[in-house]
């Protein structure tokens, strides 16, 4: 297991390097340079002053040198300074990180809680009316745009049910209120994941239930519940976990859209606001942090996967 872990962590190095290169190059793709962006159109400057500013920002050097500078700064934890607020970017991101993280986790939890039981019942009661309804619902869930679902939830709850949605309250202050303020957004975010997980749980369980060892287990007189819980489910969950790993990106990216709809002050709103204000260091910082989170969650899923299924470790 340690060897597997080590090789997985080592394999991350080129990917991290690539991520940093992409995030660095993103800003270089913008027409004009950082100095012009910083100044906007209001300021008249002599060419000499422009050169001086370029030297100040370090953008007069060749691109590879700038990239090396950038890498060095990132490793020191210096993500740059916001062009609008003149505050360092990283602390601003970190104060908003918990909300986005809680939202994604809650969405994942909701999805798993809905999907796994429904998928199991669907597979066991194959071709029943329930199964058919569940499968159609699953396809619908896969097709609903999450931002629209969010808007509809707001509409139904505030206009028709008159339930106040409530402001976001940090987890440290009152966990119950946090849960209340995040549950609708998490539901809007989690439905698509639930649909995907349900479909995979169903098909994976159906495949396992057709295996010889399930017949053996039944043949030796085990109760149906034991066969399901001890023999079928653990094996059926292995592919589902892989699928879960693929969905992390959707969850992390989806927070951007969902936070905007529910007006939650998370990383997503920060990055959108920064985009419209052309505050590129903030955009760069948030994209980098979310990509890093994505890579780390994928690593966790992979390790979990190898822990559950020894064939992966030794394969």
């Amino acid at each position: 297991m340690q060897r597997y872990l080590a090789s997985r962590v080592l394999a991350l190095v080129p990917v991290l390097f690539g991520i940093l290169a992409v995030v660095f190059l993103l800003i270089r793709l913008i027409p004009g340079d950082a100095v012009q962006l910083f100044l906007g159109t209001q300021v008249e400057m002599t060419p000499a002053q422009m050169m001086e500013l370029r030297r100040f920002f370090g953008v007069d050097k060749p691109i590879p040198v700038q990239f090396a500078d950038y890498l060095a700064r990132i490793f020191r934890g210096d993500f740059g300074v916001s062009l609008r607020t003149a505050r360092p970017v990283l602390p601003d991101i970190l104060t908003r990180l918990p909300l986005s993280f809680q939202l994604a986790s809650l969405a994942l939890a909701i999805a798993v809680l809905i999907a796994i039981p429904l998928g199991i019942v669907s597979a066991v009661a194959r071709n029943s009316t329930y199964d058919i309804v569940a499968r159609i619902t699953g396809l619908l869930g896969l097709s609903i745009p999450n931002f629209w679902l969010g808007a509809m939830l707001i509409l139904v709850f505030s206009r028709f049910l008159h339930v106040p949605l409530g402001q976001y309250v940090p987890l440290s202050q009152n966990p119950l209120l946090t849960l209340r303020s995040l549950s609708l957004p998490a539901l809007a975010l989690g439905v698509a994941i639930a649909a995907i997980l349900m479909r995979h749980t169903r098909s994976s369980l159906l495949e396992v239930l057709g295996q010889e060892y399930i017949r053996t287990a039944r043949g030796k007189g085990l109760r149906a519940r034991v066969v399901m819980l001890r023999h079928a489910l653990p094996n059926a969950m292995i592919p589902v976990i892989t699928v879960l790993g693929f969905q992390m990106g959707y969850l992390l990216g989806g927070t951007v859209v969902i936070e905007e709809i529910f007006a939650l002050p998370g990383m997503g709103r920060l990055v959108l606001q920064a985009i419209f204000q052309r505050d590129y260091p903030v955009v760069q910082g948030v994209v980098l942090v979310i990509a890093l989170l994505f890579v780390v969650t994928n690593l966790i899923v992979d390790v979990l996967y190898a822990w559950i299924d020894p064939r992966i470790r030794y394969g």
Binding site: A151, M152, G253, I261, I290, A291, F294
Partner: protein
């Protein structure tokens, strides 16, 4: 989704019905096989529904200038906040921009070696970003235009095609008829064009259908956030965004574009699911 009552497959996964049909090939064998495909497609039940939904939407899109009574960009202050009768199809403008990448990845799967490694690592890096976030970042940097939108969505969904194409090419590469083609002395270009590509089309077609649903969802999400199609050009996403501002007053402005998106995406999902069962039963 699998056809639950499909008992036409024997243990080898191949339909015995199919084999007898092929065995009974007449001079009109091609049409018989063709008819069989059609028979299976229609009896698949899922795919045709998807196709009908998509066709209906394409029909509406093509006929839009005829059906739509007013210029969609014109202002109608009197009609403001009236319930709209129909949505406009403007979500499907990002058809397969990934042709190049797919071909590249096919060759990666075919040649293997360093080319494969380089191509796959590049894909890994794109894959390391959540798709919608990378699309948002690209739009933020390049600016909002339909061309950039197509580019952004094309880039972020490239790795999925790449993986599917590569995996399929790797499988096919090891098969006997590839060896036969090589033994006949055919050049690489010819082998790829005539033997490899036709045999990996099935999984790629399925992926195209499923990815189109993702592409439409992405386009509408980006337009909703104000980073995609810009008003006054209507897109379901930006209609929804504008409708949301009057959610309490005129909810239908937000309800219908969303339903329209859902219907088309559902269509592509149904088609993709059906095609998967139909073209490549092993992928289930």
């Amino acid at each position: 989704m699998s056809d639950p009552k499909d008992t036409r497959k024997d243990a080898s996964g191949e339909s015995s019905w199919y084999r007898t049909r092929v065995a009974a090939t007449t001079p009109l064998g091609v049409t018989a096989a063709g008819r069989w495909w059609l028979w299976r497609f229609v009896h698949n039940r899922v795919a045709p529904i998807g196709l009908v939904i998509i066709a209906a939407n394409l029909g509406v899109a093509l006929l839009a200038p005829v059906i739509v009574p007013h210029d969609v960009r014109a202002m109608h202050p009197v009609d403001a906040l009236r319930p709209p009768g129909h949505g406009y199809l403007f979500g499907t403008d990002e058809f397969g921009r990934d042709v190049l990448s797919r071909v590249l990845m096919l060759t990666a799967g075919f040649y293997g070696g360093w080319w494969d490694a380089l191509a796959m690592r590049t894909m890994d890096i794109i894959f390391a970003f959540p798709a919608i976030l990378l699309a948002i970042a690209i739009m933020a940097v390049l600016g909002t235009s339909v061309g950039n939108l197509v580019l952004a969505i094309g880039i972020v969904y490239t790795p999925q095609f790449a993986r599917v194409a590569r995996a399929a090419a790797l499988t096919v590469r090891g098969l006997e008829f590839m060896e036969a083609a090589r033994a006949l002395g055919l050049g690489n270009a010819r082998i790829i064009a005539r033997h490899l590509i036709p045999n990996v089309l099935a999984p790629i077609t399925v992926q195209v259908s499923l990815s189109l649903s993702l592409a439409i969802l992405s386009e509408s999400a980006l337009s909703f956030l104000g980073l995609g199609t810009q008003p006054p050009t209507p897109s379901w996403g930006n209609m929804l965004s504008e409708g949301r501002q009057f959610l309490e007053l005129a909810p239908w402005n937000a309800v219908f574009p969303g339903l329209a998106i859902m219907l088309v995406v559902l269509g592509f999902n149904l088609l993709g699911d059906g095609l998967r069962d139909f073209l490549d039963p092993r992928l289930r």
